[in-house]
Structure formats: structure tokens, C-alpha cells
């Protein structure tokens, strides 16, 4: 009996030691995660905070004001650039998502001659340096405009259209990667089941395949949109005179002077991206 008691006491002591050890581990883990999140988000918090400061150099928090947002709305150059950016992002996202999805379906479903090379070439835009891509596009446009001018006599210029074409060119790869990932987990028996139940290829796609890979398509589109939204290098090289885009405009204003106005526009962009991510998460959860 006595032996049993001492044994159980020993066991309790061991358990307590183990618990203390676990407490330490949990504490360390919590500390580590907190520090990591501070590292990730502190700059963003600072950015947002300083968009409300009354200090016109944006260096100190001297008071709270919304005035920078008001001034922002009066800055025609900035607003114009923002609209341009949004237009480029929307058009290039829609087109690259359609092309990329079709491409992903073809790559995943069919075996054709040269498939491996097509596969490798498809991912090249993701890995080659952006500056190389930008210069290549610039050279390409200059070259093809020259040919068009020789044939038709029409002189084409760099404009928003060339930016959109360029953004589509690099967005497709990202869309393909994301959509293919969602097709990998797709059970092809479902398509057979639909056909077995009387659906032709068209009905099978819209009733079964499309709804099931939609989360992947939305994911791909979102990625394309955000990449287009903050692209600097390629936009810088492929835009024409007089048409500016937001990242380029922000850069040129910062070169002159850093004002909280820049913080304000950045905060708005942050808000738009967060809303989009939240929206896509919501849509995907609704589907489940």
C-alpha cells in the first residue's frame, strides 16, 4: 500500500516536470511566432499609421488627420495612374485567366508531341529575371511595330495596350501553375459519370468540371491580379509617354519628397488587395 502511494507520488512528480517542460516549450513557441509576425507586419502598421500623421514629412507622429486622403483625391496624376493600373490589372487578369485555364486543361488532359518542351517553356516567365523579360518585351514591341509600319504605314506607339499585353504574357504562367494544381486532384471519373448520365462534352465541362476547379481558377486569377497591380519593371519598360501606372507614379513622387500622401495611397492599395483576398476566401468557403 505504502509502496503504491510512493509510486503514484513519483508519477505525479514526473508528470509535473513534463508539464513544466511543455509550458516552457509553448512559451518559446508563442514568443517566436509573435516576433515573426511583428517582423512581417510592423512595417505595414507603420505605413498605415503615418498616413494619418499631421507631420508633412511623414517622419513623426505629431497628430491625427485624414487630410492626406483628401489631397490624394485631388492629385490628378496619382488618381489617373491608379485608374490605369486598375484597368491593366482587370483586363490582363480576365484574359490571362481564360488563356491560362484552357492551357492548364490541355496540358493536364492530353498527351501530344512536344508536350514536355511546351511544359518547360510555360514556366520560363516565372523564373527568368523580370528585367530580362521587360527588355525582351520592349525589343519585341519595337521590332513588330517596325514591321507593321513597313507593311501598313501605320505608326503604333507604346501605350496601356502594350502594358496589358505584357502583363498577360507573364500572368499566364502563374495562372497555369495554380489551375494545374487544382486539376491534379480532380477525379476524372466524375466526368465519365456525367457523360454516362447523358451529358455531352460541353455540358460536362460547365456542370461538373468548371464548378469543381473554380476555386483553382479564382486562385490563379487573384495571383495574376495582385502581380499585375504592383508590377513596376515590366510596366516601366512597356508603357508609353504620358500614361503612368501607380507603382511608377509613386516611385517618381518619392524621388522628389516623401509625404504621407504616398502612405495614404499605399494604405488604399493594401485595403483593395486585402478585400480581394477576403472575398475569394469567402466565395470558396460558400461553395463548400
Amino acid at each position: 500500500m505504502i509502496e503504491a502511494t510512493s509510486q503514484s507520488q513519483a508519477r505525479t512528480a514526473t508528470a509535473a516536470r513534463a508539464e513544466r517542460r511543455t509550458n516552457w516549450r509553448t512559451l518559446l513557441l508563442a514568443l517566436h511566432s509573435t516576433l515573426m509576425y511583428i517582423f512581417l507586419y510592423a512595417p505595414i502598421v507603420v505605413l498605415v499609421l503615418f498616413s494619418f500623421t499631421t507631420d508633412s514629412f511623414g517622419a513623426r507622429l505629431t497628430g491625427f488627420t485624414f487630410s492626406w486622403y483628401g489631397r490624394l483625391l485631388q492629385d490628378q496624376r496619382l488618381i489617373g495612374a491608379a485608374w490605369n493600373t486598375l484597368e491593366v490589372a482587370l483586363v490582363s487578369t480576365v484574359l490571362s485567366t481564360i488563356i491560362g485555364t484552357l492551357m492548364a486543361l490541355a496540358m493536364e488532359r492530353y498527351r501530344f508531341r512536344g508536350r514536355t518542351s511546351v511544359d518547360a517553356l510555360l514556366y520560363l516567365p516565372i523564373v527568368i529575371p523580370e528585367i530580362v523579360m521587360a527588355l525582351a518585351l520592349l525589343a519585341f514591341f519595337a521590332f513588330s511595330f517596325g514591321i507593321i509600319e513597313n507593311i501598313t504605314g501605320r505608326q503604333l506607339k507604346m501605350s496601356l495596350t502594350t502594358v496589358i499585353i505584357s502583363h498577360i504574357a507573364f500572368s499566364i504562367s502563374f495562372v497555369v501553375v495554380v489551375v494545374r494544381a487544382s486539376l491534379k486532384g480532380f477525379d476524372q471519373r466524375l466526368e465519365e459519370a456525367a457523360q454516362d448520365l447523358g451529358a455531352n462534352a460541353w455540358q460536362t465541362f460547365w456542370r461538373v468540371t468548371f464548378p469543381l476547379i473554380l476555386p483553382g481558377i479564382i486562385g490563379g486569377a487573384l495571383l495574376a491580379f495582385t502581380i499585375s497591380l504592383d508590377d513596376f519593371i515590366i510596366s516601366f519598360f512597356t508603357t508609353g509617354p504620358g500614361t503612368s501606372l501607380l507603382p511608377i507614379e509613386v516611385y517618381s513622387q518619392v524621388k522628389r519628397a516623401v509625404t504621407p500622401k504616398i502612405n495614404a495611397i499605399s494604405t488604399l492599395m493594401l485595403l483593395i488587395s486585402m478585400t480581394l483576398v477576403g472575398l475569394s476566401q469567402f466565395v470558396q468557403r460558400q461553395r463548400r
Binding site: D187, R189, L190, E192, A193, A194, Q195, D196, L197, N200
Partner: protein, 366 residues
């Protein structure tokens, strides 16, 4: 409805690369019958089913559905429906939407769809489950949704690709009975693919035993079990003892076989044989007897044996005996008496007599 056949396969070959997955198969499946294709994996049964469904087209040969050739008709134009092994229910649709899918494709009026979906769910005992999502159902319930989704279209033929494979044993037995009952009620031709011989025996009107792309035998469960036409069928369906030997004498249906090691056996002829043929004598373990005493009227197959191993499995005792020099032979005795007395059961090392009437031994070629 030509000759009352729902499906006719005429000399079907399906080649994948260099392999004939289905190798000159000819089969007739009667209207309203529960027909099983049985065989080990890779025997061509699933490929045959997929050709009837239209997911694969034959390399050569013809398939007829109710007398009409359907060789290269796409699946959505055949009045044939499939219950898939993995069920393949649409995860983004409710149970009712899944069942309604086929009717919507056929442009059946909305009210009629509603009524028929309800009927179909009633039939598989899932009344009131229409609003659920497939993933909220158990395996057995998903299985029944798959059945309802196929049957609601009133197909000429229902194809079932190992539909019970994913269920546990008890549920499987229940579903076997339920499937058979359902088939009798709706009167639709069922073609059932399985590698489980017990499942095929339980449910089928007729069974086709397949191996390596070929049909070895087609017959009723009794015919397949009691009169297998080759060693493979006898071995695959149920269990059997095989004693290898050569035909030494023929007298009408009575065959004498010697194994070259001193055993002489008498058996029944079930296929044409000649003296000198290499054969297997096949005796089912439950069709042989083991006794302590020499039987008073000695049958024509009687051998002194030693018990090698004994396995008590509840309903039966399975006794492995040593016959001749190196032949092991399995005998099953039903435990008809309720007793725990050791002496009532065979023990290892005991001597006894193994015997069977000649009609219980079938002489088969490889």
C-alpha cells in the same frame, strides 16, 4: 429486342499497346438477367464493362445493345448507366441534384424530375436525404445514391463496377441482398463486375469467369461451381484439391488417372479426354470424407492418410491430410454436433481413411 439479348459482344478485342486486355470475347447477356463478370484483376472484366458503357471503344468486334450496334456511340447517347467503384458522386451537388442530373440532361419536365427523384430515393431507402451533400453520407448511403442516380434514368442495362468493394464485410452482405432484390423489382438487366466469387455466386443468374482477357466459362452459379470446365475455374471459384496425373483408362464417363507416384484415382469426365492426356483430378474439400474406420462398402477412391494439420473455424473443421508420398489434401467436416470433447475432433498425427465417390471428382485439363 433481338433474341431477347440485352447485350451481345461479338468477337471483341481491345488492345492497349501490345497487350490484348480483352481477347476475342463473345458473350450474350439476356434481358432482365443479373449477369456477373468474375475474374482476378487484369482479366479484362472492367475493360469489357467500360466498352459497354462507351468509355472505351473496341479495337475490333461488335457490341449490340438490344440488337443495335453501339461500337462507337459516345457514352451520353447510350441508354446504359454505370455505378462506379468509387461512386463518383458530384461533390458540389446535393443528393437530389445528383439523382436529377441524368433526367435534366434528357430535358425531362421539372415536375416529373422532382417526382422521379423522390421515387428513386424511396427505392434505395434514402427518403428525406435529398438536401444532404454526398460527403455527409456513409459509404453505404453513398453507394445507394449512386444506384438511385443510375436507376432513375430507367436504363436498358445497368453496369456495376465492383460497387461493393469499398464497403465493410457486414454492409457488403446486406447490400448484396438489397441489390438482388432491387434488380428483381425493377427488372433491368444488371451487369456486375467483381473479383469476389462469393459475391458473384450469391447474386447472379449467370456468371462469366474471365482470365487474361478471355472468357473461360459462362454458366449459372451451380454450373460454375459443380461443373467447372478447366482447372482455373475450379481453382478460382471456391476451393479445390488438385491431383496431377495422366489418363490411364476411359470407360464412358468414368476416367482412371494415375499420378505416377503410386496413386490411382477414379473421376468423372466433364470434357472430352483421351488416354495419355495430362489432367488434374479436382475434388472439393467438402465433397471428400475422412473416417477412422474403413467404410464397410469401400468406394472406388479410398486412401489411408495421416492428419497433418487441423484448423477449427467454428462451422467447419478443416483437416489437412497427407495422401501418398507428398500430396496434401484438404477435407472439410461440418461441425454438426455441439461439443467441446477433444475426442470428437481430429488430432494431428492421427491415422484415418480418406474417400470420395467417383462422381465427386472431376477430371479437368489445365
Amino acid at each position: 429486342m433481338k433474341d431477347g439479348y440485352a447485350i451481345e459482344m461479338r468477337d471483341i478485342v481491345k488492345r492497349f499497346g501490345d497487350v490484348n486486355a480483352v481477347d476475342h470475347v463473345t458473350m450474350e447477356i439476356r434481358n432482365g438477367e443479373f449477369f456477373s463478370m468474375l475474374g482476378p484483376s487484369g482479366c479484362g472484366k472492367t475493360t469489357s464493362l467500360r466498352m459497354i458503357a462507351g468509355f472505351e471503344y473496341p479495337t475490333s468486334g461488335e457490341i449490340y445493345l438490344n440488337g443495335t450496334s453501339i461500337g462507337t456511340t459516345p457514352p451520353f447517347q447510350r441508354n446504359v448507366n454505370t455505378v462506379f467503384q468509387s461512386y463518383a458522386l458530384f461533390p458540389h451537388m446535393s443528393v437530389a441534384e445528383n439523382v436529377a442530373f441524368g433526367l435534366q440532361m434528357k430535358k425531362v419536365p421539372r415536375e416529373e424530375i422532382g417526382r422521379r427523384v423522390d421515387e428513386a430515393l424511396d427505392m434505395v431507402r434514402l427518403t428525406g436525404y435529398g438536401e444532404r451533400r454526398p460527403r455527409q453520407l456513409s459509404g453505404g448511403q453513398q453507394q445507394r445514391v449512386a444506384l438511385a442516380r443510375a436507376l432513375v434514368n430507367r436504363p436498358d442495362v445497368l453496369l456495376l463496377d465492383e460497387p461493393l468493394g469499398a464497403l465493410d464485410l457486414k454492409l457488403r452482405k446486406e447490400m448484396q441482398i438489397e441489390l438482388k432484390r432491387l434488380q428483381e423489382r425493377v427488372g433491368i438487366t444488371f451487369i456486375f463486375v467483381t473479383h469476389d466469387q462469393e459475391e458473384a455466386l450469391t447474386m447472379s443468374d449467370r456468371i462469366a469467369v474471365m482470365s487474361e482477357g478471355k472468357v473461360l466459362q459462362v454458366g449459372t452459379p451451380t454450373e460454375i461451381y459443380e461443373r467447372p470446365n478447366c482447372r482455373f475455374v475450379a481453382d478460382f471459384i471456391g476451393e479445390s484439391n488438385f491431383i496431377r496425373g495422366q489418363v490411364s483408362a476411359l470407360n464412358a464417363n468414368d476416367v482412371t488417372v494415375t499420378d505416377g507416384k503410386g496413386l490411382t484415382l477414379r473421376g468423372q469426365m466433364v470434357q472430352p479426354l483421351q488416354v495419355g492426356d495430362d489432367v488434374y483430378v479436382s475434388i472439393r474439400p467438402e465433397k471428400a470424407r475422412l473416417s477412422v474406420q474403413r467404410p464397410s462398402e469401400p468406394p472406388n477412391n479410398l486412401f489411408p492418410v495421416t492428419v497433418d494439420r487441423v484448423a477449427y473455424i467454428g462451422s467447419d473443421t478443416r483437416i489437412m491430410v497427407q495422401l501418398g508420398q507428398d500430396q496434401l489434401f484438404d477435407v472439410w467436416e461440418q461441425n454438426t454436433r455441439s461439443t467441446v470433447d477433444r475426442d470428437a475432433y481430429w488430432q494431428r498425427g492421427e491415422q484415418g481413411f480418406l474417400w470420395w465417390p467417383a462422381e465427386n471428382a472431376l477430371v479437368l485439363k489445365d
